[in-house]
């Protein structure tokens, strides 16, 4: 079965340096890479444990990242020096408010965000707007939950980049 849907990619263009934007993101988003979250998840037995685990890994923004690709670093092996870093990140408690409506939400959470330096030297923060990823599932409760996540994400990206909507 094949379903067509339309996704909106948002790109905030910042005049800040790449290093400053990355530092601000990493200060705001907890580091749950290297299985800190996924391994811990296998051990939880109840909702209270689960929420405690998630909250222990959040940064001040209420998000944690679970996987980081420093694409600029590994691509330097190929003689292609670029500044680009992608994070897989999210908030498992918010994810629960989405995935409880449709298990297929798991195809799109945790979210991805990409920071890169464009040829003009500006820093771009790019992400697909969550509500546009989930509309395909045609669930009004899910859409309502996604609208809240959109607002949180747009506010976060606007603050990080200094480039509001």
């Amino acid at each position: 079965m094949k379903t067509n849907y339309t996704v909106a990619r948002y790109e905030h263009v910042s005049k800040k340096s790449f290093e400053d934007v990355i530092a601000a993101f990493e200060a705001a988003v907890g580091n749950a890479d290297d299985g800190k979250f996924t391994n811990g998840m296998n051990a939880v037995q109840n909702a209270s444990d689960w929420e405690s685990l998630a909250k222990s890994l959040f940064g001040p923004s209420g998000f944690m990242h679970v996987l980081t690709f420093d694409h600029g670093h590994w691509l330097s092996l190929y003689g292609t020096p670029k500044k680009a870093k992608q994070y897989t990140y999210g908030n498992p408690l918010i994810a629960h408010t989405l995935i409880e409506h449709d298990i297929r939400v798991g195809l799109h959470v945790p979210l991805k965000v990409l920071f890169f330096e464009n040829p003009d030297g500006d820093v771009v923060m790019a992400y697909d707007l969550p509500s546009t990823l989930m509309r395909q599932f045609q669930n009004k409760e899910l859409d309502a939950a996604c609208a809240k996540l959109d607002d949180k994400l747009i506010a976060f990206a606007s603050e990080l980049t200094g480039a509001p909507v």
Binding site: T6, W50, H71, W74, T80, F116
Partner: protein
């Protein structure tokens, strides 16, 4: 702020195998990326040709798993029992052939794959068709690589015992 609206095709393919068999076969066909081995290769002075050779030797279907999330533990405490697992699947050598044209492709690769068992007990393989995702970048060179990825996904689905979609040959 730049906003780009793009059309994506989601594939939702039934697989003629039980969930455990599907997951086992998938993880055999798409091995986990060995970060430590990759790091050792670089520490030993390996160059990009060595990276390419290593991927070729370890990815029989040209894909590796970079990350995996078993969903049930996430939802067990909410009373859900659906078996479901999310993967980030890709190939960093192929990714480079797109990244060299536009770094934004790394918002979309590695590709997301979801294996699940639906309420009727049927197993399904879900992902967004690669070419339709990377086509959003508007670069024909990247879209061509995406079409090649479509073919690789079809071959993987055939290996898994699914009725794979048929797409025109990649140019």
């Amino acid at each position: 702020l730049n906003v780009n609206d793009h059309l994506v095709h989601r594939l939702d393919i039934g697989v003629n195998a039980g969930y455990e068999a599907l997951q086992r076969n998938f993880e055999l066909a798409v091995p986990a990326f060995d970060r430590e081995r990759h790091a050792q290769l670089i520490r030993d002075g390996g160059n990009w040709d060595d990276v390419v050779a290593d991927v070729k030797a370890t990815a029989p279907h040209d894909f590796l798993i970079y990350w995996k999330l078993d969903i049930p533990p996430l939802l067990r405490t909410a009373g859900h029992a659906t078996r479901c697992c999310e993967y980030l699947m890709g190939n960093h050598v192929i990714a480079e052939t797109m990244f060299r044209h536009d770094p934004r492709v790394t918002l979309y690769v590695p590709l997301r794959v979801l294996l699940l068992e639906d309420p009727a007990g049927a197993t399904r393989f879900l992902m967004d068709q690669p070419s339709t995702v990377v086509a959003s970048l508007g670069d024909d060179r990247i879209t061509a690589v995406g079409r090649d990825l479509d073919q690789k996904v079809s071959a993987l689905l055939t290996f898994l015992g699914a009725e794979a979609p048929v797409w025109p040959p990649a140019q």
